[in-house]
Amino acid sequence: MIVLLASLPFYPLVSFLVLIAFGKKLSWQLAAIISVSSIALTVLVSAILLFELSASQNQVLTVNLWHWFDLTNQMGTSEVNMRFYLDGLSAVMISVVTGVGFLIHLFAAIYMKTDANFSRFMAYMNLFIVAMLILVLADNLVLLYLGWEGVGLCSFLLIGFWYQEKSNILAARKAFIVTRIGDTSMVIGLLLLFNTFGELNIKAVTTLAQQGHNLAAGSSPVSSAEQANDIYWIALLLLGGAVGKSAQLPLQTWLPDAMAGPTPVSALIHAATMVTVGVYLIARMHGIFLLVPEVMNYVAWLGASTLLLAGVAALAQTDIKRVLAYSTMSQIGYMMLALGAGAWSAGVFHLMTHAFFKALLFLTAGAVIYALHHQQNLFKMGGLFKKLPFETSLFVVGLICLMALPGTSGFFSKEAIIAQLWSSSTAGPMLWWCAILGALLTSIYSCRLFFLAFLGTARFSENTHPEKSTLLRSALIVLALLSLFGGLIPLDLTLVFSTVIQTPLAQLIEPTWLHTVAIITPFIGILFSWFYFKNYRLSPLKGTKHNIQPSKGKFVVFCRQGLGFDACYNALLVKPYQWLAQINKHDIFDQIIMLNAGYVNLWHDSLIFVQNGSLRWYLAAFGLAIMLLLGVSLL
């Protein structure tokens, strides 16, 4: 059974190698079968592993592959091994990664069928699954960082998959550079962590942190002030890494642009799995974060502000995929809010349900875009309800989960988060109100999206040609079922998150109306948009011109462009850097390199000059050389 755990990332790895090596020679069928079946195999293996895990005594499975290297500092030596560690948290992650990953691979195999570089696409997708599995199964933070960079690389490769267009390349580069800022902060955090604890093994670090926590809880603070300061910075730096990867507030600008990639990529990487690893990281390192409630408070506020700002930005978008991208950002904001409030398992639960319904939304949006000949503009859709009933019903399923209407999976996870906010010592009523406002925004932008795309009259002239493949549709249906009923999956993470925040203050009294408000909020949003977005919803009366245009108001445009973050970063960072690069173009290193070129050029010129074809010149050179040789030999 241990062998199974060890082999988990190797099936997609083998498939990746085969596809990269023989990609051009494989037919579509063969490439699709290899890539999809390798993921199917991982699904099977992870199902067996989940079963094994629930049967094992301490709910942990580990396997040691090989010894990688040793790290040494003044506290001693720490081994860094290729060791996989499966507990409740990573079990949730591998089931999301392999399960949702499998369905998206299936969809992608059909969606990308006509692409010339199909096998390269599937190879990158497989590589992504490999990196993601390494990330979530890692036993130590170095291995986790390997997977972390691996998913970043795959994200870069897949955003820029259609590299012939410049905008795609720019989006890929932006995603890579912006996440790199977070990654750098994370590396510094890891080094500081090793310096403070002398350990990078996740389990050991958590144990050490818990000891520190228990000691701190007992009246005498044993750990010195310096160490407390170190832990504060470690938590902050790790948070920086999570912020970069999960597209949270200061570093969120890459995610909307990342929608330049193919739609299955947006579903797999930029909605379901990769962008949630920041949440995973913080949940994994909860031991550290519990030691510093201030940082948890920051996490909560960061999540809340991302939640609200992304919700506002989503209200103004015109591109269907960008609406979903901002929605992803705001839902990850919910998860961060949950983590900041210490509601670890609620955050991870929302991660899982969000992966289901956001993957469904993206894939259905992909099917709609495909049916409309690659039209992504919401204002050129409309009336799809009658033309694409299948896609519409699936989209509705996704949206009601996103809005968290009672009974859906989103309801269970989002309510679990909201319920724990009010009384949490690191969150509180203010953040509770933020979450409620976020839920309101979510339902409003969901309704706007639905009305614009599916109701009203058609604002396009071409015929739709939906993809009718059974495999593609069954993948969507399975995702829809998961979105609807995924909330019923029992998620028991009490063993992973055994420590809870000890509230030193008196427990805040929860008013009785809290849950009622939380449940009613989405309906208020729907009601509001039912009247506010009446134009989008209704067909125009006969004789009147229907003319729905995106608003040109200053504030709306400001929101559409991501609330000015892009412009701000451009002016503050990108422009000065480019200016610096421009004036520093001919620095000393450049000149050393160019010296070589000049030397070669000199020889080139002189040799050309000698080869002038004139007989008399040749003779003269000949005679001169002989005289020289004679002179030398005589002397």
Binding site: G613, S614, R616
Partner: protein, 102 residues
């Protein structure tokens, strides 16, 4: 009969050779180049004869005869080329023949 010292012969030969070489390099007219080549060959011939007479051996004269035949053959080919050149270019400028430069 006074014997001419070998040194003087060699000076004459070198001078002739230098004149011939300068003629080959400096003249543009192909006919003059051929003539200068003849001078160079004859300079070598003078050296051979002189050496042969100093050492009282016939090899020098045999060598000169060989050079003479070589010069005759060379001039025959050279003049034939000259005629072709005159027909093609209406000129004997050697610099016109630089079309094979690299």
């Amino acid at each position: 009969m006074t014997v001419i010292p070998l040194f003087h012969v060699l000076i004459l030969s070198t001078l002739l050779f230098a004149i011939g070489f300068i003629g080959v390099v400096a003249r543009k007219n192909t006919l003059f180049i051929l003539m200068s080549l003849e001078i160079m060959l004859n300079a070598v011939g003078v050296a051979f004869i002189g050496a042969g007479s100093v050492w009282q051996q016939a090899d020098g004269q045999v060598m000169f005869l060989l050079i003479l035949t070589l010069a005759a053959a060379e001039v025959a080919v050279g003049l034939a080329l000259l005629i072709r050149m005159q027909k093609k270019y209406r000129s004997l400028d050697i610099d016109l023949l630089n079309q094979m430069k690299g």
